[in-house]
């Protein structure tokens, strides 16, 4: 991907993130994604109905990579069922961790395909996927 386009997508999602801000609704599952290696600290709110991720929101303070990745991830996952979500997350995590993945499944998330060149930023990019996975596990353990 052209690096200017990549930067533009990331910056746009950082400065105008999708679904940022909390709304009062008991139907959301909440989780905090405190990134251990740095100072990103985001809360995630996910509404799941009939196995479908109806809505995802987030709030908090985080760096450009974490925030933009969260915004792009939210856009990608809303409306998908849990199986589809798990598949996307697995492929996304694999991409970040330099393992085999299917780029066709990831859409705009492909802007992070070179983040592995900055190892200290991998956890920033992984922040939203770790959070959503934790919410799914929480749901399964209920």
């Amino acid at each position: 991907m052209d690096s200017n386009l990549r930067r533009e997508i990331i910056l746009d999602n950082y400065q105008n993130p999708m679904n940022k801000g909390v709304i009062e609704d008991d139907g959301y599952l909440k989780i905090n994604s405190n990134n251990e290696s740095c100072i990103d600290n985001l809360d995630f709110f996910v509404k799941i109905e009939d196995g479908i991720l109806k809505d995802i929101r987030f709030d908090g303070e985080a760096c450009a990579i974490s925030t933009s990745a969260t915004s792009i991830m939210i856009r990608k996952l809303i409306g998908k069922n849990i199986l589809e979500v798990r598949k996307i997350l697995k492929n996304y995590n694999n991409m970040i961790n330099e393992l085999e993945y299917d780029a066709d499944l990831l859409g705009e998330l492909n802007v992070y395909d070179e983040i592995c060149k900055q190892p200290n930023r991998k956890n920033c990019a992984l922040l939203p996927s770790v959070a959503i996975e934790r919410i799914l596990s929480k749901l399964e353990n209920k």
Partner: protein
């Protein structure tokens, strides 16, 4: 000054993260290399030449520390660092001597290591933690201390210099108040002892903690100074060799008296030797001179930063080499990543002062913390990079 003593400064870097840890001068490293290559041996009970040298250096380190901060050698305990030192105070002394309802006064700008142990103690035995008010510069005044004290106040536990705001607390005055009102005075010296003259006796401290690695010494070693009459009343948190006088099969035992009681097991010998060398090194330069130099450097830094319109400063008035700032609209971590691109090393985050946000209204900052080997050229490089920061996202993304 003394830049030539630091091999890391031969690299093209600007090191401004001294509040986290400092660089090590060659002679400190050499003293440890000598231990590992010329006289490796355990302390105590060794009758051979190498052990005698090691013993002299280890025991001598207590005298070096005592002279440096004006205490008795018999009040100097070697620990693994400030965090351990404060935990020893809280769980080794306070747990036994405080009771439900007793008040401990802290501030919201304390490091986690001077808040969490107290929170745990509160959970364990029901002491009450109160936060003394900070002024508009996030500093603690003597008036605020006086206002906070009640009949139930048993302890004041504060950093002499805080690690985000960098304000220098008037420990002489606070120590005097503590003495008059029979309040125990616990001082976290992690950010003060490396940078300015600290006087344990004159300031009437009861406990003082600091770390080796923040004062040109190695990591893994720190100090806890405990006033003699309290030291005997303190219980060790760790039991084993080197700290007992005797123990028998009938379950009786007797512990050593003095600092050894708190140094179970083989201590960090090389590190203690390195710390001792570091203190001697600092004294050679002159600790007063170091403080003066850093304050001057900070004035220059503030003057230059104030010329850049999109920089927000949080503690320009504090009298130390610490400055917290943000680039307007940029998350602190992104700023630090940006500066790293210019080989400028700073720290971003809450700096372990997680409840200071209640006062500052901002969770994360970029922190510049200076030491005597920094110079105006370092600051000029930082300023130059920050002036170009409208391009920040071209670099960090």
């Amino acid at each position: 000054m003394n830049r030539e003593d630091f091999l890391m400064l031969n690299e093209d870097i600007v090191y401004l993260d001294n509040g986290a840890t400092t660089l090590k001068p060659k002679e400190v490293v050499q003293s440890m290399v000598d231990y590992y290559t010329k006289h490796t041996s355990n302390i105590h009970r060794g009758e051979y030449d190498a052990a005698i040298i090691t013993n002299q250096l280890y025991d001598g380190a207590r005298d070096v520390v005592a002279k440096f901060i004006n205490s008795e050698s018999s009040e100097v305990i070697f620990t693994s660092g400030s965090t351990m030192s404060i935990n020893m105070v809280v769980f080794g002394y306070m747990k036994k001597h405080l009771k439900r309802g007793d008040e401990v006064l802290l501030t919201k700008s304390e490091h986690a290591s001077n808040i969490l142990p107290w929170m745990k103690l509160s959970e364990d035995i029901g002491i009450t933690i109160k936060f003394m008010e900070l002024n508009e510069d996030y500093e603690l005044t003597v008036e605020s201390v006086l206002k906070s004290i009640t009949e139930r106040t048993k302890v004041i536990s504060i950093a002499q210099v805080t690690n985000v705001v960098g304000d220098v607390r008037d420990v002489d005055a606070i120590g005097k108040i503590c003495k008059e009102k029979k309040i125990l005075f616990n001082v976290d010296g992690a950010q003060s002892v490396p940078h300015m003259r600290v006087d344990f006796k004159k300031s009437n401290m009861d406990f003082l903690s600091f770390s080796g690695h923040k004062m040109c010494g190695p990591s893994g070693v720190g100090v806890l100074i405990v006033k003699k009459e309290l030291l005997d009343e303190m219980e060790p948190l760790c039991y084993g060799g080197g700290m007992n006088q005797s123990f028998e099969a009938d379950m009786t035992y007797e512990l050593k008296v003095g600092p050894s009681k708190f140094e179970a097991g083989t201590p960090p010998i090389a590190e203690v030797i390195g710390l001792s060398k570091a203190i001697q090194y600092l004294e050679k330069i002159g600790i007063e001179k170091i403080h003066e130099y850093e304050v001057e450097l900070k004035k220059y830094l503030v003057k230059e930063l104030e010329k850049i319109p999109n920089i927000i400063l949080y503690n320009k008035n504090s009298n130390s080499g610490i400055l917290a700032f943000n680039i307007d609209g940029v998350f602190a971590q992104d700023s630090a990543i940006y500066l790293n691109h210019f080989n400028i090393y700073v720290r971003a985050g809450n700096h372990c002062a997680k409840i200071l946000k209640d006062n500052m209204k901002i969770k994360n900052t970029v922190r510049v913390s200076m030491y005597f080997y920094n110079n105006k050229k370092d600051i000029d490089r930082l300023i130059e990079a920050l002036k170009k920061s409208e391009d920040i996202f071209k670099i960090v993304i």
